[in-house]
Amino acid sequence: MSVTDRRPPRAAYALLKSLLKPSDSESIPGDLLEEYREVRYPSLGPLRADVWYLTQVLSVLWRVAWPCVVAIIALRIVSFPLPRGWNPSLVPAPGVSLLDALVFAWAGYYGSQKTGLFITGVVMASVTSLVGFTTFFIYAAVTSPSLLLSPFQKPFIFVIVATLLGLALGFGVAAGILGAAVGRWLPPSYSRARAS
């Protein structure tokens, strides 16, 4: 196998590309690919080199997504002690409330403004929705530990959880698309004068 045949995971590469401004879309993936092929793959082997690559992509994701992640976790923390009904929901499920929609739309707007790409907004909204859903279940598991075991007693609960996750993700993506469309329509926030 030649050096140039060593390829990092396609999904991680696609995720990385979706997070970068057009001006960085060659240089940053090129840097990571160079390190992957020249150093990580020979020294770590294919699996650990892929894990290294994914870790680097997630570090780039975190740098873009952290305000959205903080916003959704803050919303969850504020929401938990409040009575039901203060934040209207389309259906009785986590992650589909009015305030969730606002956070997802903002995440979409923020992401697409950050890079000038529509896809970044959609990715930001999806990540935010996933984190919001996970936070809800962590809270539920901490307050009612028996919930963790219930899917193993009644496997159908896995189907319910998967449905709720799909609902939350779909809702997040839909709201994110609206925000990303607005963000893409307006001029992007970055304005670096780079000599390229």
Binding site: I28, L32, Q56
Partner: protein
């Protein structure tokens, strides 16, 4: 200017004309003697550029990068002045003290 920004700017000076993303990441890791994520370094480089402390330009890529361009960074005059100020401030802070400090018992 934060410590990490200083570390990245110093790396640009040490690397000179070879200061591109991967080399900067490795240099910062070596100097700080810890693992540093690519995201942290790229975000810092972006911030330094936005502050006018560094500039960059693209150059052709090599085969091992799949032909992808390299972005080379260099400190601006303002960046060098900011580093000098940071070093002077640190030196001033330590002036008169004997290094290493001794723990009083």
């Amino acid at each position: 200017m934060g410590q990490f920004e200083q570390a990245v700017l110093v790396a640009l000076i040490r690397l000179g004309k070879d200061a591109y993303g991967r080399a900067i990441l490795n240099e910062v890791q070596e100097r700080l003697a810890r693992d540093v994520s690519a995201g942290a370094v790229y975000a810092t480089l972006e911030r330094l550029e936005a502050k006018g402390l560094a500039s960059s330009k693209l150059a052709p890529g090599t085969a091992i990068r799949g032909g992808r361009a390299r972005r080379y960074f260099a400190p601006t005059g303002a960046g060098v002045r900011a580093l000098n100020d940071a070093k002077s401030a640190t030196d001033l802070l330590w002036r008169g003290l004997v290094w290493p400090l001794r723990v009083r018992t």
